[in-house]
Every structure is written in structure tokens, then in C-alpha cells.
Assembly symmetry: C2
């Protein structure tokens, strides 16, 4: 029997530093597959097909919905976004660990369809620090920042549904914790009992 891969679902507040942390996790574990979403929105400057997203037409997206290919999908501001069940399943069956960065509602749907998924939520060390980071980025108006903080306070209520909470106090520390979670999950009894077969 071959060991199946682990599906790791990562969510976090806007401004918690998911992008930076996950880029380093992937640099340290090049064997991981980082799930790339499908979208019908147009590529932005510098975005590459198959790297940032799989860019597809509305017709193709709907055909994939029809074939039940999505683990989850949603429509935002007139564009579809979705995660392909087919690709993820194929990787997991080949024993490859899959990382899926996804917002809270999407994570809930994934957990429903694949209860064996491991989920983690990345948080800043405090809300004061989150506020500081959002201001430091300098990309949002004060009103927008207050909106993001209010959203984060709402989202905090959902963290109870995740398996792990990773604190991004420093990027290195958060990366170490995520790598440890990946290693520990691969040691779970459920994944290794097959080693005891034939005893």
C-alpha cells in the first residue's frame, strides 16, 4: 500500500503574511504541490497561466462545474474562482502533499468534501500588529484598512474550525511551524498503519 499525500488547507487574515510564508515553505519543500486555482478573470500584469491561476473562459469554467470537477468554487464580482478536485486527488493518490491557500468559506467546503484535509490558520501575533502591518503596506486607505480589520474580527470566530493555528511573529518561525505540521501529519497513525501489515 502506498502512503497517500496530505491535503493542507491554509487560510489567514488579509495582512497575516500568507504569501511570504508559503513561498518559503515551498522553497524548503519542493516536493509539495501548491494547488493553483481556476479563474475566469483576466490575468493581471505579470500573472502567468498555470502559476498564479489557470485562466479559462467562462464556458470552460461552466463545463468543469457541469462535470463536477471542483472541490469548491465561487463567483465574485462577476468572475468565477474554483479549485479542481481532479488535480488534487490525483496528486494525493500519487503520495504528493498538496497545499491549498483558500479563504474561510472555501476551506469549509473543502473540509466537508475531504474531511481528512488538515487545516491551518495563519494569524499575526496580535490585532495591533495586524493593524500596523496593514498601515505599513501603504496600499490601502484608512477606511479600507478599518474594513479589513473588521473582517478579520469576524473571521476570527471561524478559527475554531481549523486544526492548527500558526502565529506569524517572524516568517522563519511560521515556516518552521508549518513544516513541522506537515512532518507530524505524515507520522499520523492512520497514514502509517500499513507499515504494520504482514507482521
Amino acid at each position: 500500500m502506498k502512503e497517500r499525500g496530505t491535503l493542507v488547507v491554509v487560510s489567514g487574515f488579509s495582512g497575516a503574511g500568507k504569501g511570504t510564508v508559503l513561498a518559503q515553505v515551498l522553497a524548503r519543500r519542493p516536493d509539495l504541490y501548491f494547488s493553483v486555482s481556476f479563474t475566469t478573470r483576466a490575468p493581471r500584469e505579470g500573472e502567468q497561466d498555470g502559476v498564479n491561476y489557470h485562466f479559462v473562459t467562462r464556458e470552460e469554467f461552466q463545463a468543469r462545474i457541469g462535470r463536477g470537477e471542483f472541490l469548491e468554487y465561487a463567483e465574485y464580482v462577476g468572475n468565477y474562482y474554483g479549485t479542481s478536485m481532479q488535480v488534487i486527488r490525483e496528486k494525493l493518490e500519487r503520495g504528493i502533499d498538496v497545499v491549498l491557500e483558500i479563504e474561510i468559506q472555501g476551506a469549509a467546503k473543502v473540509r466537508e468534501k475531504l474531511p481528512e484535509a488538515v487545516s491551518l490558520f495563519l494569524v499575526p501575533p496580535s490585532f495591533e500588529e495586524l493593524s500596523r502591518r496593514l498601515h505599513a503596506r501603504g496600499t490601502d486607505s484608512e477606511e479600507k484598512i478599518q474594513q479589513r480589520l473588521a473582517t478579520a474580527r469576524e473571521e476570527a470566530k471561524e478559527i475554531v474550525n481549523y486544526d492548527y493555528i500558526v502565529v506569524n511573529d517572524t516568517v522563519d518561525h511560521a515556516v518552521e511551524e508549518i513544516l513541522a505540521i506537515l512532518t507530524a501529519e505524515s507520522c499520523r497513525k492512520e497514514r502509517r498503519l500499513h507499515l504494520m501489515e504482514g507482521v
Copy 2:
């Protein structure tokens, strides 16, 4: 709210290399408390009180039983062996992670009394390798080795009750896995939800 420590229960087949692996885990994580058992048997050459065991008299041991101090205890060949609940609880409350090396029956009792304990079972990469290691030690007769292997086959049935299986293919690898499990467990939602208090 202070984060409580994690109690990690470690079992493994005789010959799986528990001693070597745990010594290196403790060297890498000197903040861990390695639980020392109480016993009424006499110290052997080189054994130190408070390091290998807490050596106590039969009267003292029975008084401790009477006070309900033991998480688990058993009598083997006329001597008592037991794990103090009091010491472990005090360390956990102070936020210290505790490692407890214990055989399968003892581990079952610990799990019953402290269901939040995390348990891991150390296995050699295969039974062929276990047999090879037992022969290589050169300390047991062939009959004794066959007995140990038969016991291991019996014990293998209990592994399903453990949370994690750690494979001791190399000591370094097993140590890495145990350290990762300790880190991952400290990231569990249950231990960190207090970070979201006051949001």
C-alpha cells in the same frame, strides 16, 4: 491564559531504539521534562536516584498509592513501578512539555486518565530489521530474541491506539519526526485559541 504543556507518551518495541532517540530529543529540547518513574527495586550499578528512577521504599510507594498520586503503576516481579500524576500535572500547568517513556499497558492507563495526552509509537523500519538489531546487540540468547520478536508481534496490534507512528530508520530521522510532532502539537487550535481572546 497560559498555554499548558503537552504530555507526550512514547512506547516502542524492545530494540526499536527508544533510549538513543529520546536522549537526542532531550538534547535538542532541554526545556522538555523527561518523566522519571518511581520504583521500589534496588538501584543497579550506575543508576542515580532522580535520574533513572526515584528509588523509594515499599512503604513510601504504598503511601503514594493511598494518596492517589500515581497516573499508573504496576507490580513486576515483586517490585512496584509507577508514574507520578502530581509531578506531571505540575509541569504541564507551568507550560512545560513532558515526555513519558512507558510500555503499552501503562500508556493505555495514561490515555484513560489524561485523554489530551499525545502518544507515539517508535517502530523499526521492518521486523527483519528489528530481528537484525536484537541479534547485533549480542546481549540476548536466540530463544530470548525469538521471545522478544513474538512479543513485538503481539504489541503491534496495540499500535492502532497511538496517535503517531515514528519510524526509526535512522536516529536523526526519528528525532526530527518527534521534534516535529512536539512543535505541531503546540500549534493545535485547542492550545492557541486563547490568542484570539479579546479580539
